[in-house]
């Protein structure tokens, strides 16, 4: 790509379908926007199926069914079946509290390739408090066993933060006990709800280091048995992460109402008009939509990104974080130590010390 912007982009690899914003849980770091869409605004089955057809033609290889809680949609299995017909790899990202035996069987029959279940903690009481849903943890455990019994590949996702970081060893053990081939130990990402609750969630440097050490040793110990993916928080980083693998380079996200977005939080950015799949084909959107081209490649970058030799590694970091923390959508992600705004990260860490552990919930 030689550092210039991409006029004819490579086909996208992944499609994330946020089928609904409805969810029985209300995790304080939820990736959904602060303003949730009502069920009446959701795309209907035919539109979702058409999106799947178009994405297959465009070259999408993996489809992630997400939400909100995707199993709140009764037509989920029909969509999974369509993805399977196109040989796209299907992944269900679920809280699992609505998954019973009938539902698991239905999804298996439809051809689901992989199921990822989120856990808020290993201690039931704390897990239910964090998720804001009484009895949720026990239901999740039961659902994970159903998935395993159905012979479906299982991932457990643990979002970690100040209020559960000490229990990462038990989270890894839970993955083994439930027969997960893979677990995710993912520190909270501080956008949207996570940003609202940042001071109650940010881990200390000591907590982060302990989690990192635990994950690294477990990875060695469990090599070939269970994969552990690890996502660190930006607040102690020196370089930003390549958010979404770069703006509109690999992924398309579709909101419940059918807005096509380069990432799930993109609607927080002002001045960008995101096209609807009700009005345009996914191919047209991917190639031509101004909002997709806006930060694609490197032409848009300010200094210090423009002349940085890592510009095609981190792609300038996260646009949503840059805007949320600096007010400028084109700023270098403050997670980067070279950003003129980098001090806001350390300031947030300082402010979170001794802050209240109470959460602002989405309902």
């Amino acid at each position: 790509m030689n550092g210039s912007s991409v006029r004819v982009p490579e086909p996208p690899l992944g499609l994330l379908l946020e089928l609904t914003h409805r969810c029985p849980l209300q995790c304080p770091y939820c990736s959904n926007p602060l303003e949730l869409q009502k069920s009446g605004a959701e795309l209907d089955t035919d539109n979702w199926l058409r999106v799947l057809d178009e994405s297959a033609a465009l070259g999408v290889l993996q489809v992630h069914f997400s939400g909100g809680e995707p199993t709140a949609r009764k037509d989920l299995a029909a969509m999974v079946k369509r993805a399977a017909q196109h040989k796209m790899y299907s992944n269900l990202i679920t809280s699992a509290v609505l998954l019973d035996q009938r539902r698991v069987a239905e999804l298996a029959e439809a051809g689901i390739d992989h199921i990822q279940i989120s856990f808020q903690d290993v201690e039931p009481e704390n897990a239910d408090r964090i998720g804001g849903y009484a009895g949720g943890h026990v239901r999740k455990l039961a659902a994970a066993r159903l998935v395993q019994q159905a012979g479906l590949p299982l991932t457990l996702n643990f979002v970690v933060h100040r209020q559960n970081a000490e229990r990462v060893p038990q989270m890894i053990a839970m993955g083994l006990e439930l027969g997960a081939g893979r677990i995710e130990v993912a520190h909270v990402q501080y956008y949207g709800w996570g940003l609202v609750n940042r001071s109650a969630l940010l881990p200390s440097r000591e907590q982060l280091d302990a989690v990192t050490a635990e994950v690294e040793s477990a990875r060695l110990r469990l090599k070939g048995r269970m994969l552990i993916d690890y996502v660190v928080p930006d607040y102690y980083a020196l370089r930003p992460k390549a958010c979404m693998g770069g703006w509109a380079r690999r992924f398309i996200n579709i909101s419940p109402a059918g807005k096509a977005l380069p990432c799930h939080a993109a609607e927080t950015l002002p001045g960008l008009a995101f096209p609807s799949v009700r009005e345009q084909s996914l191919g047209t959107i991917w190639r031509d939509a101004p909002a997709f081209q806006r930060f694609r490649g490197t032409d848009w970058m300010p200094e210090p990104c423009q002349s940085c030799d890592k510009r095609e590694i981190d792609w300038g970091g996260c646009r949503c974080q840059a805007f949320a923390l600096t007010g400028n959508i084109s700023a270098t992600d403050p997670a980067c130590a070279l950003s003129p705004d980098h001090a806001v990260m350390a300031e947030a860490v300082k402010q979170s010390r001794g802050a209240s552990l109470g959460f602002v919930y989405r309902q």
Binding site: P11, A57, Y89, G224, L227
Partner: protein, 93 residues
């Protein structure tokens, strides 16, 4: 996993792993939970022989004949590649 891999071992794809040809890109791909690999030409030829029946030895035999290359050299390459993929959860040995 032991340091050496026996020739009798039958490699299989890991749970949830799919290996297929993608018409849009004109390339073979490996799909796995939250993973996607575009194997190089050499790896593609090896992975095509992973069918749940052929042993590692049989795979090496096949490739040694096809490429008219020394058996030992092929065995070293194939074992290294499959071990690497096993560490990534793509292959089970």
């Amino acid at each position: 996993m032991s340091a050496t891999v026996e020739a009798a071992v039958v490699p299989t794809f890991g749970v949830g792993v799919k290996f297929r040809f993608d018409e849009v890109r004109g390339a073979w791909i490996v799909l796995a939970p939250e993973r996607l690999f575009l194997p190089d030409e050499q790896a593609v030829e090896i992975l095509k022989l992973v069918d749940g029946h052929r042993s590692l030895g049989a795979i090496v035999d096949d490739l040694a004949v096809r490429y008219q290359a020394p058996h030992e050299l092929i065995a070293t390459d194939v074992t290294a590649m499959l071990r690497d993929l096993a560490d990534k959860g793509v292959i089970r040995l």
